[in-house]
Symmetry: C2
Subunit: 246 residues, 2 copies
């Protein structure tokens, strides 16, 4: 068996999410269908992270094993051929050792959250940004975001359905930068809880709109209660940008 690592870009809009589910098309399911078409047999594909419905990726990572070594570029091009009707593209395919695991070998994950902060709605970036028509203060959001950086119990920013054993995570970076009408939130950590980025962004928008200050973010973190933090930002602004391996 030969193990391949895939780096994947996708538009999450038409999918139920990364993970294969009974209720609709998934990114994993599309890629597994392409791999099956290429190999002539069903093969499981394992992703680094489960993006939700509507969440995009610029650099999701996955791995799978195939019975023969056909060359990495051939794998990439063949999968892109079978995926040509889907908004999914294989950016890279690389041969990796059999102890590589897209999820368990990952040592860092990078997310981007895009907010379009202008009164007119998006035309070209529909379903690619969170449209927020009222002006918000990105500098205040950045300052408050620093409260969340570091080792914390992120229970307040964790989906109630989250299956992670521990709510304690180390957030390495959470930056908020405005560029014209667009606000970009970038987050980096070894791993994240379910909905953590979207819940942090939703909370920071309360700061940006003047409803909350940094002390409120601090208090919501210390409360260790999902109800103490802000709402979940919508999926369409979120991008899985990169997954790091040793």
């Amino acid at each position: 068996m030969t193990r391949y690592k895939l780096t994947i870009e996708y538009d999450g809009t038409p999918y139920v999410g990364w993970q294969r589910q009974d209720n609709g098309r998934s990114v994993q399911g599309e890629i597994e269908a392409a791999v099956a078409a290429f190999c002539g047999q069903p093969i499981n594909v394992y992703g680094a992270g489960r993006t939700d419905s509507g969440v995009h990726a610029l650099g999701q990572v996955a791995h799978f094993d195939i019975p023969r070594d056909t060359g990495a570029d051939t794998v990439r091009d063949a999968l892109n051929h079978y995926l040509r009707k889907a908004p999914i593209t294989i950016l890279d395919a690389d041969r990796v050792d059999e102890d590589f695991h897209a999820r368990f070998s990952a040592v860092g994950r990078h997310y981007l959250y895009r907010i379009l902060n202008r009164r007119p709605p998006p035309a070209l970036d529909r379903d690619k940004v969170w449209w927020h028509p009222k002006k918000v203060d990105a500098e205040a959001m950045h300052a408050a975001a620093q409260v969340l950086v570091g080792d914390h119990d992120f229970t307040s920013f964790r989906a109630t359905s989250c299956q992670s054993k521990s709510p304690v995570k180390t957030l390495d970076r959470l930056d908020v930068v405005r560029n014209g009408a667009e606000i970009r939130v970038t987050a980096a950590a070894r791993s994240f809880l379910h909905h953590q980025v979207r819940n942090m962004v939703g909370t920071l928008m309360w700061v940006g709109s003047g409803k909350w200050g940094p002390a409120d973010v601090q208090a919501s973190l210390e409360a260790r209660d999902r109800a103490a933090a802000g709402p979940t930002a919508p999926p369409e602004g979120l991008y899985l940008v990169q997954v790091d391996y040793p």
Copy 2:
């Protein structure tokens, strides 16, 4: 009557183009329907330039007259309300003098052409870039582009269907810049012939792929014959960025 100038962003993918036509939905038709819904009567909307089917706009300009002065922000917000299901958004509405004409008052037009130059196809920018999988030399394209800058008879770069009286135009700027996998061509002139930007881009791609040098571009310009220049680049990479007024 009160005249309003609109600045408009749109995704040209689902449309037959800017101009109202019998064979499908047009951007002009969608905006006229929104204006009619707002005013309660049919009203013509005049655009600065007729973008082709699949061509996008970041800053198309149009004007129209309505019987009452309702305030520019109200016009913008009302039209965006009626356009909410269309990938068209009114960025700005401004009251202008009655001698303002979106097309005839314009003194400058700016276009952007986006090329995705990588082997994997676009997933997130489908229908928003020209995908060109073979590596091209953007610096060579930029150098050759300078042959086209200035006052010239652009017959070789004009659609055979072009209705402009004269093929002589002044091209103020034609720049080609690579940023990672994306090549951006920016063009500025008082006005352009039909298909001029797409025909120049298609020709420059022959230079980028090594088929042609600057002397060939020069010869094709001097031939004053459409058949002497390169092919028409596809519409999905083209954006009308800005229209200038005195």
